[in-house]
């Protein structure tokens, strides 16, 4: 199999020393002894690649990249899993989808070119929005999450409203794209490359039509997809992509934004897409520390060693995810922080869901805030 050889070479799988450090740090292996990144990789190297492709475990991996930080030979396991999922898709694998596959279906619906979405109903009346301009705000799936997870009370659109407030305060009138699609992150990581490319092309066209030179996102996953995957699978982009934290750092250093004093103590959950995938550990912390009086305490495992929120790409939600989430929430509680700040809307949803567990009662309770909302709140009225 030529693809396999190429893939193993590209991801440096041949360098694997069989040391098992990946398995020892993997958050899934910690709670599920049957899953082992080492075994998957060694199995594929020793002639069982076809079995790996058909195995459900291929979709159990969170692609959080924690194994990659510990690997002495720098095997790109996350890349290996992603590319293997493309192969799996060609074989017609049925991807295990949580929520009955509803969210993936929504994304596939969005690949349709003739769709006229009504996704801007949330925009607050006072917000200043431009028709065409230099800066665009990419909202992503937030309106859909808001509608879909009403029972979890996640109110994902709060994040979007907070972003609008921050942008307007910094004298930026962002363009809101009327017909943007999902960034395609979840379809890409489920192995559906064709539909990912369709979504990506829609988005790139929409942004280019708007004339924006800078695109700001509030989602760690959108950011990774724009930053790494669009250039890889589509081609170089004609615009710059910024995460809201980068925008905030710039605006604060230029003195455009002033925060009110608070006495809150918070802890930060590094999203894997922002942290390990892109190496942005300091930016969110810098942003949080720019609020006077706000103290940041770190969880036992932070930055490079941060634990994932337990589910990725709406694919692998099960009892193991719940245990990872409980572990993470408990370690957030142990820091004594008032609230847990997340940088990714999905971490937010997953933790909220974990806290709803009736059996756990108040054991896991901690206030969760999104990074964007907490910054918007700190701006005052």
């Amino acid at each position: 199999m030529v693809v396999k050889e190429e893939l193993l070479k590209k991801t440096q799988a041949y360098y694997c020393l069989d040391c098992g450090k990946c398995t020892s740090v993997c958050p899934i292996s910690r709670f599920n002894g049957g899953f082992s990144p080492r075994r998957i990789l060694i199995g594929s190297l020793t002639g069982r690649y076809e079995e790996t492709l058909k195995d459900e475990k291929l979709y159990t991996c969170l692609t959080c990249g924690l194994c990659g930080t510990r690997c002495p030979s720098d095997v790109k396991f996350v890349e290996f899993i992603k590319s293997s999922r493309f192969e799996g898709q060609k074989l017609g694998n049925l991807v295990p989808c949580s929520h009955g596959g509803a969210i993936q279906s929504l994304m596939r619906i969005m690949t349709s070119p003739s769709l006229e979405q009504r996704r801007l109903d949330w925009v607050p009346r006072g917000a200043q929005v431009a028709e065409k301009g230099e800066v665009a705000y990419f909202v992503g799936c937030l309106p859909y999450f808001d509608a879909f997870f009403t029972d979890l009370e996640v109110n994902s659109l709060k994040i979007a409203k907070a972003a609008m407030k921050i942008l307007n305060r910094a004298d930026v009138e962002p363009v809101l794209l009327k017909n943007e699609r999902c960034c395609g992150h979840d379809l890409l990581w489920a192995g559906d490359l064709d539909n990912f490319k369709k979504l990506a092309e829609h988005n790139i066209n929409a942004i280019e039509e708007s004339g924006a030179k800078t695109v700001i996102t509030t989602c760690a996953e959108c950011y990774r997809t724009f930053k790494i995957d669009y250039p890889t699978y589509i081609g170089p982009l004609s615009f710059k992509v910024l995460h809201i934290t980068e925008f905030l750092i710039d605006s604060v250093s230029q003195g455009k934004l002033n925060f009110k004093k608070t006495r809150k103590k918070v802890t930060f959950q590094d999203p894997c897409r922002l942290g390990r995938h892109l190496g942005m550990y300091d930016q969110p912390r810098m942003v949080l520390s720019s609020v006077p009086g706000l103290s940041l305490v770190e969880m036992e495992r932070n930055q490079q060693s941060a634990i994932c929120c337990g589910t990725s790409g709406w694919m692998n939600c099960d009892a193991i995810s719940k245990r990872i989430q409980s572990y993470r929430l408990k370690s957030a509680q142990q820091t004594g922080a008032d609230s847990l700040v997340t940088g990714c809307p999905k971490c937010y949803i997953h933790f909220k869901c974990a806290m709803k567990d009736p059996k756990m009662g108040k054991e896991l309770e901690i206030e969760i805030k999104d990074l964007t909302s907490i910054m918007a709140d700190a701006l005052g009225r």
Binding site: H99, G100, G101, A102, S105, L106, R108, I109, M110, T111, S112, P113, S114, L115, E116, Q117, R118, R119, P143, Y144, A147, F148, T150, D151
Partner: protein, 145 residues
């Protein structure tokens, strides 16, 4: 000689999720009593309207359905006590998703039909098909058929 049809009339594809205890039996009653209803519907039997995951309905739209109807027992009649209340809750989520996607609200319908209401089932389906015919083909049907 019969004239060639000027324009082929649009026949929507409609998926109906009917609960085993009331609506499916209602459709059966319509059949037994020889009450005719449009042939556009594809009837899918589920054990309870509460079983209809939003994913089913979204999947139906993804695959090019022009309209989807969820049908269950009247409140208080549910075989599983509260299944239809759950269906209603889930339906609210669906309504807002369909709105976001830009699909017309006429494409989605929730109805309560009991086992005895064969006539009503036929009536409801007839109305629904007419509504969907008015809004035309689903934008997704063009690409995802």
């Amino acid at each position: 000689m019969a004239k060639k049809k000027k324009q082929e009339e649009f026949e929507p594809k409609i998926v109906v999720f009917a609960c085993n205890w009331c609506s499916y039996a209602g459709a059966d009653t319509a059949g037994v009593s020889k009450i005719q209803y449009p042939h556009n519907v594809r009837l899918i039997r589920v054990m309870c309207s509460g079983r209809v995951n939003p994913a089913f309905v979204i999947k139906a739209f993804e695959r090019g359905a022009d309209g989807v109807m969820v049908s269950g027992c009247h409140f208080g009649d549910c075989h599983y006590m509260f299944g239809n209340y759950q269906a209603k809750e889930r339906f609210e989520v669906l309504k807002s998703l369909i709105h976001l996607l830009g699909l017309e609200k006429e494409r989605l319908r929730l109805e309560w039909v009991s086992a005895a209401e064969g006539g009503r089932f036929a009536q409801v389906v007839k109305e629904f098909v007419e509504d969907v015919k008015k809004v035309g083909r689903s934008p997704l049907a063009l690409t995802n058929i």
